[in-house]
Amino acid sequence: MNKVIQREMIVPNMHLLEVEAPEIASKIRPGQFVIVRPAEDGERIPLSVADWDSEKGTVTIVFMEVGASTGQLAALKAGDVLPTCVGPLGNATETGKYGTVMLVAGCYGIGSMYPVARELKALGNKIITVVEARSSYLLYWLTRYVPVSDKVFSITRDGSQGLKGHVGRLADLIHGLPNAPDRVIVNGCTYLMAHTSEVTAGMGIPTVVNLNPIMIDGTGMCGVCRVTVGGKVKFACVDGPEFDGHAVDWKEFLARRKQYVDEETLFFRHSEPKPAIHKEGKCNA
């Protein structure tokens, strides 16, 4: 049982949820995640953690409302109780002094990349942050990134801020830099992670992705989060969630992520009308 401290929509369909979780707040590292259960009898879903305050004993999650469970989460108010928030799960982002690190973030990943930026910056890396969204009004937390980045770029589909286009523009962006980054880390939807990996593979830049498959227990018990990396089957919950983006079998990963799309729709037909769902930009993929 975790008390909700605040829940607010920060940009359309993107919510910030801060909950009381002192044990997790004292332990968690960048790149780790929690599993939450929004309601009794509800589904267990993994969510990346965007920030924490070990003194206050809280963790902050940024999530996108895409289905039944995130819909329930989006309806929470301060003072409500989240039946389950368990963690920290998965392995922390590997950190070190790499030189120049490019962080590519989109969607909920703009939230969960923030602690990674903070940590890598503190370790003396040069940080180039790239945030991606369909339009400028869907970008958030840029002011938080400024102090932990040496440079912040935006890519928007409609060109309303920064480069116009999708993540494919990353190639132009990297070519425009005096030196190619020594490492790229990607956080966000599958589309963003797969395409960034594609771009950087050609350039030979080591690329780490933070995968977000379907999970139930998050401790290696159910095996639903299995992913093929370099021809080997891994469980994202205990072996990941971070993997070499150039070695992930993206086609399989994408198919496994989409397993329950039909059932999610069925659920909505059986429940109260919900606000419109963000379906564009393939973010639901």
Binding site: K27, D41, R44, L89, T219, C222, A255, E263
Partner: protein, 468 residues
């Protein structure tokens, strides 16, 4: 028992337990066996010969006074019967349902030599259910606190037994559970129709009433490590079970529609997927389900698939019907409900469609050869017997190894090649001071009662340690 209570002539037939008819029960998740009535329980109890040296007790891993509790049932004194039973077994409603009595207590009953052994498990279950119904759960007196603190990791049968024993010895006990509901495999694995979840909840509530604190949503090894727990607790018991699913490592195993039995059953049980869309965990309605494996978990999966509306549920097993490791009763239930047994069959690969969904399985026929190390005749491939069968779901139920989360985050704990923790068979002591372990994490996947037996031994050893 006085002589007049015992019938003049011994009834050699055991009393059947009423069950839902197969054609009805294959469409619902209610319990298959409905349990003895008072009358049936007394009649069955009267068959017990009250042996002076009861062999049944030697067949019980937790040494329940079997003739003792049965003698109370004969007299209709169910309250005393359940009290006697609970002196040794804090989970009677569970054990009465899922223990393999036929290979334990009942296998030793001398009536078995004549015709049919006393249905000990059914009487045990009756007493536990009677107590729940009558609502007279009696709590033993709690001794003075010793001031010692014990952490129990995992709330399955081993952990609950350790906790129940140690709280009655005056120690302060806290159970840590990774999932949101206590009970371990009893909650996430065994289906509702075989072990209703309210029964597991009741047994866990019982140890809570005794004073045990249960903390759910707490992953030891992640939320806090064993090292950190050792700073706060005097002793630790690790009962984290066998929760790492095996796959066969054949092509196509990551296709959509291919599940581990853990995933399939957890979705249905813990997440109550069988109520979907009434519950929010999404569930697929499959039409032809293949379950690979021949144990109890495989039977549970196939029977669950039928209840979820599958037209056909097949067991694919590489040996023959005689070698099925599942309990005989479960195989019989599965057959009655219409599960199809494709024995002497080995899956070679799973074939999917362009969207990554399973469509077909390529299999190979097998025949039985010489007995292997386990004493069972080993399956041998029949050359060129490959065939393809259509299925839209596969549940892989070929076993589990212990979850490595704790061994990998704790130094000084010796593990075997199979990934199990090394622990003394008599005391449960691990290779590290102040840490005990028991159940599937030590033995590999086994039974509920063996885990309870290990818990009992560890509790004794922990108590001895704390008393010094």
């Amino acid at each position: 028992m006085s002589t007049e209570d015992r019938p003049k002539k011994l009834d050699l037939n055991r009393n059947d337990m009423p069950r839902q008819p197969p054609e009805i029960r294959r469409h619902n998740f209610n319990e298959v066996a409905t349990g003895y009535t008072e009358e049936l329980a007394v009649t069955e109890a009267k068959r017990c010969m009250q042996c002076k040296k009861p062999k049944c007790v030697t067949g019980c891993p937790v040494e329940i006074d079997i003739p003792g509790f049965i003698s109370y049932v004969v007299k209709g004194d169910f309250a005393s019967g359940i009290k006697r039973l609970k002196e040794k077994n804090c989970l009677p409603a569970v054990c009465g349902r899922v223990c393999p009595q036929e290979s334990q207590c009942e296998s030793q009953c001398i009536l078995g030599n004549k015709k049919a052994e006393v249905a000990i498990g059914r009487i045990e279950r009756f007493l536990a259910d009677w107590e729940a119904r009558e609502g007279v759960v009696e709590l033993p007196a709690r001794p003075k606190s010793t001031g010692k603190k014990v952490a129990v990791v995992g709330s399955g049968p081993a952990g609950v037994t350790v906790a129940g024993d140690l709280i009655l010895l005056g120690h302060d006990v806290t159970i840590f559970e990774a999932l949101h509901r206590a009970g371990g495999v009893l909650t996430y694995g065994i289906p509702e129709f075989r072990l209703p979840k309210r029964i597991v909840a009741r047994e866990v509530e019982y140890v809570q009433k005794l004073g045990v604190q249960v903390i759910t949503d707490f992953v030891v090894g992640k939320t806090r490590t064993i090292e950190e727990l050792l700073e706060e607790y005097d002793a630790i018991f690790i009962g984290t079970g066998a929760g790492l699913p095996w796959f066969m490592n054949i092509p196509g195993e990551n296709l959509n529609g291919v599940y581990s039995a853990n995933e399939y059953l957890t979705r249905m049980n813990l997440m109550q997927g069988y109520k979907f869309p009434g519950s929010s965990t999404p569930i697929k309605r499959h039409s032809r389900v293949a379950v690979v494996g021949g144990g109890n978990v495989a039977m549970d999966s196939a029977r669950t698939a039928l209840r979820m509306g599958a037209k056909e549920a097949h067991i694919i097993y590489r040996r023959s019907m005689n070698e099925l490791p599942a309990r005989h009763e479960e195989v019989e239930n599965a057959e009655e409900e219409g599960v199809i047994f494709d024995v002497l069959t080995l899956p070679l690969r799973y074939i999917g469609d362009e969207n990554g969904w399973i469509q077909e399985i390529e299999c190979l026929k097998m025949e039985l050869g010489e007995p292997d190390a386990s004493g069972r005749r080993s399956p041998v491939e029949v050359k060129d017997s490959n065939f393809i069968a259509k299925f839209d779901a596969v549940v892989c139920a070929i076993g589990n190894s212990p979850n490595p989360l704790i061994p990998s985050t704790t130094s000084g704990l010796e593990i075997t090649k199979r990934g199990t923790l090394v622990a003394d068979a008599e005391t449960g002591k691990t290779t590290r001071d102040r840490i005990w372990a028991g159940g599937d994490i030590v033995t590999g996947a086994a039974t509920v009662i063996l885990a309870m037996g290990a818990g009992r031994k560890a509790a004794r050893s922990i108590h001895q340690f704390l008393s010094n």
